[in-house]
């Protein structure tokens, strides 16, 4: 599964306007293209928030199908489970460097009320995503959130970006990933971002605690079938923030929890919280090298592992927050910055959409 070449790790980049200004996809492509050598052409992808304002209250399903049969089966499934407002091919561009794409289709879905007797709407949608993955051969949900979408595939990220015509979309959050796969095969569904509902994750690294993270999520009914450690991060945020209702800051802290030596020196209030997090959420600690950018409808979170075994730089300019594996990838699109810093190990960086901004 490992390709030839020197493993240099993956590349991630993210940008966000906290004012909610819409930015087209050109910038994020330029940023991730700057880190070309960190990928090996086996996967690239983007997540974009705010791209479907006309249908912002519907679940936008970006689908990948291996064949027409999978598409038929899935559409049959959608008819049984949702009201389909609209479906269409995801626009693409014949692009050099991209070969053999699956059938790419998107759907705008509403949940019929009679389906929600025992479930919340979002639980229902999350369940159907997992059902598609486990029950319909050759069908893959690239994203399933509202007013957002994931665009990903096998290729260099800049080629994937142009393939999906991202310059025609405008979003207030963009995240991007260039992949150098070592632990899982390069396939379209396996490219980042990984998503569930409006959570998206781009990830550089490997989760050495995958085994227990997966078993923990399974206890809460999540089905992990994608053969990759990144999907646990998306599901973890879904569990912690949506189901357990943890504040986002706390959720981030459970994934890269403080060391006991630091907790022991905290003031009592903080110590109590940090201790309880480690006691109760030990199984959600992501152990191993990672830098990740998590997107959601109200913001963006950057996070490193507890001993910072993967690079991450953050920067601000006016209402913009940037995060990337390398500073060069930020300077490429924003040479003049107010502030640039390397977030400390395990210390999250938050970008938050201003209150009232849609």
């Amino acid at each position: 599964m490992k390709s030839d070449g020197i493993p240099s790790g993956c590349a991630i980049s993210g940008l966000m306007s906290e004012d909610g200004r819409r930015i087209n996809g050109k910038k994020i492509i330029e940023s991730i293209a700057c880190m070309h050598d960190r990928s090996n052409g086996l996967g690239g992808g983007f997540a974009a928030y705010g791209i479907y304002p006309k249908r912002k209250d519907m679940y936008a399903f970006h689908m990948m199908y291996d064949n027409a049969r999978a598409k038929e089966d899935t559409e049959e499934f959608f008819k049984d489970h949702f009201n389909v407002d609209k479906d269409e091919a995801i626009p693409t561009h014949r692009q050099n460097g991209i070969s053999d794409p699956p059938i790419l289709w998107r759907y705008f879905l509403e949940v019929p009320e009679n389906k929600l007797e025992f479930l919340s709407e979002r639980d229902y949608v999350a369940k159907t995503v997992m059902k598609i993955h486990s029950e319909i051969e050759g069908s893959f949900v690239a994203s399933s959130g509202m007013n957002m979408g994931a665009f990903k595939g096998v290729g260099y990220p800049e080629d994937i970006g142009r393939f999906f015509k991202l310059e025609e979309y405008s979003a207030y959050i963009w995240t991007a990933h260039g992949r150098f796969p070592t632990n899982t095969p390069g396939w379209w569904g396996g490219a980042h971002p990984f998503t569930l509902l409006d959570w998206s994750v781009v990830h550089n690294g490997e989760i050495s605690s995958y085994g227990i993270n997966k078993r923990y999520l399974e206890m809460f009914g999540y089905k992990l079938e994608l053969r990759t450690d990144t999907e646990v991060i998306a599901y973890m945020f879904d569990l912690l923030v949506r189901k357990h209702k943890l504040p986002v800051e706390i959720a981030a802290e459970t994934l890269a929890a403080a060391f006991w030596k630091d907790i022991d020196r905290m003031e009592p209030g903080k110590k109590k919280i940090a201790t309880a997090i480690r006691q109760v959420y030990g199984s959600t600690l992501l152990n191993g090298p990672f830098s990740i950018i998590i997107g959601h409808n109200r913001g963006m979170i950057g996070l490193n592992d507890r001993i910072k075994l993967r690079p991450m730089t953050a920067a601000r300019k006016d209402d913009m927050l940037y995060m990337a594996s390398e500073e060069s990838a930020i300077r490429e699109i924003a040479p003049d910055l107010d502030e640039v810093w390397s977030p400390r190990a395990g210390t999250p960086v938050f970008g938050t959409l201003k209150a009232g901004v849609e």
Binding site: P7, R215, E249
Partner: protein, 502 residues
Amino acid sequence: MESQLPAEFIVNIDHERCRKCKRCVMNCSFSAIEFKDKVTANNRQCVACHRCATFCPENAITITQNPLDYKDGYNWSPEIRKNILKQAESGGMILTGMGNPKPYPIYWDHMLIDACQVTNPSIDPLREPMELRTYLGAKPEFLEFEGDPGNISLKTELAPQVKLDIPIVFAAMSYGAISLNAHKALAMAARRMGTLMNTGEGGLHEDLAGYADRIIVQVASGRFGVTSKYLNNSALVEIKIGQGAKPGIGGHLPGEKVGEDISKTRMIPVGTDALSPAPHHDIYSIEDLSQLIYAIKETTDYKKPVSVKIAAVHNVAAIASGIVRAGADVVMIDGFRGGTGAAPMIIRDHVGIPIELALAAVDDRLRQEGIRNRASILVGGSIRQSADVVKAIALGADACVIGTASLIAMGCRVCQKCYTGNCAWGIATQKPELVRRLNPEVAADRLCNLLTAWGHEIQEVLGSLGINAIESLRGSRERLRGVGLNQEALDILGIKHAGIGQ
């Protein structure tokens, strides 16, 4: 009746080297060595406890198995023939001590641990923090917070938690089965290492009251020494339902061991047999167990986690689930190889199931039911080395308990004669002249050394796994692979066979 049993061991004395200092004679507590002009062995009495050989200043003593051969017979092994001879002579059950010595498969030795290469870097435990801290107790399913961002406070009140600096606890061994000096050594070591010792069912000697925060106090079917002060003077309270070495049967401390001190501690008259009934006479169902759990919680004002200890038997997963639902904060599972001071050989050698399989089944079951957080899992019987601890935690245990290993650290040679009360090492005996041989300070040092060494070894493995906290190993079966196991065993253990990638 003249015994027809041959000696098990031969004590060889090198008379050329022997200086006739008689130290061996003084040290042998089994009357296997006499002095008749020269040191003379009474081979039939020798149990291979090595006391004489260890203390002979001239290294003049060796002990060998009696080479007496039997006519070959795979079916009628010498051991089986000897057992029949014993019973033909005595008419009794064969009594024995320590854990099951039979060659049943040891699943620990059929599991291998992963390590990092290239993409997920290993971590050097000498340079980076490598955390072993573990908390025992019930955890809520999730935490609740209140307040605004930047000023968040915790709303959830956690059930009581007991902190362990290393996920290894000393196993339940009663004062009675082992000596007061052994108990003292365990308590001192537990305090120094930030872990716990367990009183077993014989109550807590008043000399150890000062170690309360490091002590698990046990409530067993005999209820020896159980008072509200005893329950409150503890880190954790454990209800003992069963023991791996003797599931389903009670215990019997013979009257000759019940001296003044034990009588006081157990609250029974001097010289009377201390009998633990097979079942608790107030527990005939899971509802009864729940009542006892809550009676203890009421008595201790809900400040102590309550553990329930069971032997690993066929239906252990369902039983453990019931125990968790009955309100236990900790489930302690004791495998069929667990030790004992005294048990009928038929029970010790033929009843129960291996801890590896029991642990995997229990952890799976609690996860399937979504209640794994409600109780910590402690496992023992038998944890022989730090590798076993690592594998147990990867299978899903919160921590391990060590009984036999801690006795060996104090000097035990696993001669399996604990039930005789003649322990030459001062551990499993109440005879003052033998108890005196065990210096609690020295024994505590040896226990601390053992735990320190195991702690370093566990950290080394965590580092090679690329993780720096024990909770990232806990239940992470993906990091284990089986070798030479059939599919059914692999399925029960929830691990893949070696050679299969992620």
